[in-house]
Symmetry: C2
Subunit: 333 residues, 2 copies
């Protein structure tokens, strides 16, 4: 069982691995470039993973057998587990609780060396549909307050396995980043009577300078206040607060645009490591509609250092105007 602990000054929760903690000699990690015979995510090796929660398979194929296009499994080394009670308690002035939650892996493809950017737009859409399905399903568990979908691609971005996958972590508390954005959006709404994210998108569309690509439902742009070089936001064109409420058409549009942006980033930046996160409104918040969901895509090109940890501000060496121009001019095959 892991443990959640809260800072009494800032209210920030962190997750601690108290079951199998890493000692001082445990940190020399590399991406495991395991061959196909050993990779637990490869077709044919299904026995190496916990039983699947969800899969896209042809009719008649066997659960936890080969033949699938996409599998969702529990993480074998979960940050949080679904079993047990939260049991919130105090230790002096500190708050802690058991690490109840969910940690799942979306194996995006049966092929070991295929990147998400190599998949068809339809396949990327299937991945997004599976994510949506898992988020909706986990909302049935009253203990869980928020599900984050994220992807770590490459060693620098924190990936520990090479085979293409995304992850879902469901938390018993709403993440502070989302709460902070929601609070800011509510304040903006009160002050101006409109959604601040919609207003930002309008301005980006008027100025066009930071817009990279768009389609009927989504716009991909490099935000005016990007924290990282070549950061990209993929934002629903009309106001939508909930990723899980996206329609099939919207997800198909997102799949196309996400694939295009992954290819533009790979081409422009020489196949960098990257993270993406799907940020959505917290269902049980008082006014989740003030939020505007989006996918945030961050190539990992710089190192976060003392200044950033100390301040919470970021030094970005690449203005988003330059980043957007470079991404727009990528020659896509």
């Amino acid at each position: 069982m892991s443990e959640l602990r809260r800072d009494p000054i800032t209210g920030r929760w962190n997750i601690f691995n108290t079951l199998e903690p890493t000692g001082p000699d445990g940190f020399e990690r590399e991406v495991r470039q395991s061959s196909q015979a050993l990779c637990p995510f490869c077709a044919g090796n299904e026995r190496l993973t916990p039983g699947e929660i969800f899969a896209v398979r042809p009719p008649g194929s066997q659960r936890d057998g080969p033949g699938w296009d996409l599998r969702v499994i529990p993480n074998k080394f979960p940050a949080l587990r679904v079993e047990g009670d939260l049991n919130p308690r105090g230790v002096g002035l500190f708050d802690l609780s058991n690490g109840v939650g969910a940690h799942e892996v979306i194996i995006e493809t049966p092929e070991h060396t295929k990147q998400l950017a190599d998949c068809s737009a339809e396949h990327v859409t299937q991945v997004l549909q599976a994510c949506r399905q898992r988020v909706l399903d986990l909302r049935g568990d009253q203990r869980l307050k928020y599900s984050l979908i994220f992807k770590n691609f490459g060693l620098t971005a924190g990936a520990s396995l090479e085979h293409s996958h995304s992850q879902l972590i469901a938390l018993p508390v709403v993440p502070r980043r989302v709460l902070e954005e929601l609070t800011g959006a509510q304040r903006y709404l009160e002050f101006r009577g409109r959604c601040g994210f919609c207003d930002m998108l309008d301005q980006e569309l008027q100025e066009q300078e930071r817009v990279v690509a768009d389609n009927a439902s989504f716009v991909a742009y490099c935000p005016f206040v990007s924290s990282f070089p070549f950061e990209v936001a993929i934002v629903p064109r009309v106001h939508r607060w909930d990723f899980a409420a996206a329609t099939p058409d919207e997800l198909a549009d997102l799949g196309r645009l996400l694939r295009e942006m992954l290819r533009r980033i790979r081409q422009t930046l020489h196949d960098p490591s990257y993270n993406f996160m799907i940020l959505t409104g917290p269902v049980e918040a008082e006014e989740p509609e003030a939020y505007h969901w989006r996918l945030e895509l961050v190539p990992r090109l710089t190192r976060v250092a003392g200044f950033e940890w100390g301040t919470g501000f970021y030094i970005n060496p690449t203005p988003p105007e330059l980043a957007a121009a470079a991404l727009r001019s990528a020659a896509l095959s």
Copy 2:
């Protein structure tokens, strides 16, 4: 001139290098392992740096010549510059201003291969005294609201030069991290009538489990809610909100304890990259006394990935109890 831009939803400021931006091919950085002949921070190479702002030198030695123990110089590639006006302005719903501030480098030793952990306790204290001096001096500039002292050691921690140095960045706004901690500390003070940081320190001293070392003025411990494995806080034993108000005796105690902790970390974790930051109360805040200054020391052992960016929560594989026990048992030579 760089540019400061503010996110209209969260209020977060980021700094953009608009003068010499990094393009898509500019990110393959390595620590420059320059030989002594080429290193701008080495004794004898003073001509390669901007003129010194401050130095510890024997009487009679020449400004910007050799013979010094420690030099403070303007950063040759500053994130912010002292020249010019802030000129705050709006572009649609965005706020921006010129990148006015200061960015200085504290060259900690004239010797190219000497780490800060190799310096004597007296020398580490001299470094801290120089930092204090610079922070005090920059308070004379009304445009600057906060000075952060930080150190990046090693490539993983964001260092771009091998020769031992710390940095100071003075900002025209108070960093959000400090504001957030100050707000939390004020709330705690209202609620309980005491400093929350003092209360935490009391509990750490009672429990002893996470305390690594201490002396008359400071305690070094692994915080109960550490974000990172082997994170260490070095905290003044009695309530002090302002690093720059530290007495010579206090700085000598901090110098000794910081040196000891750097050596314990090097020994326990096989010479890892690390960052440290000096977090202090913002002078012009309404109630800066609610803050409790401290030095935060973070070995860089894990990679921040999608989950952390998306949530603002951290997954820490090493509970601080384990980290403190390992650091306590380091065999110091």
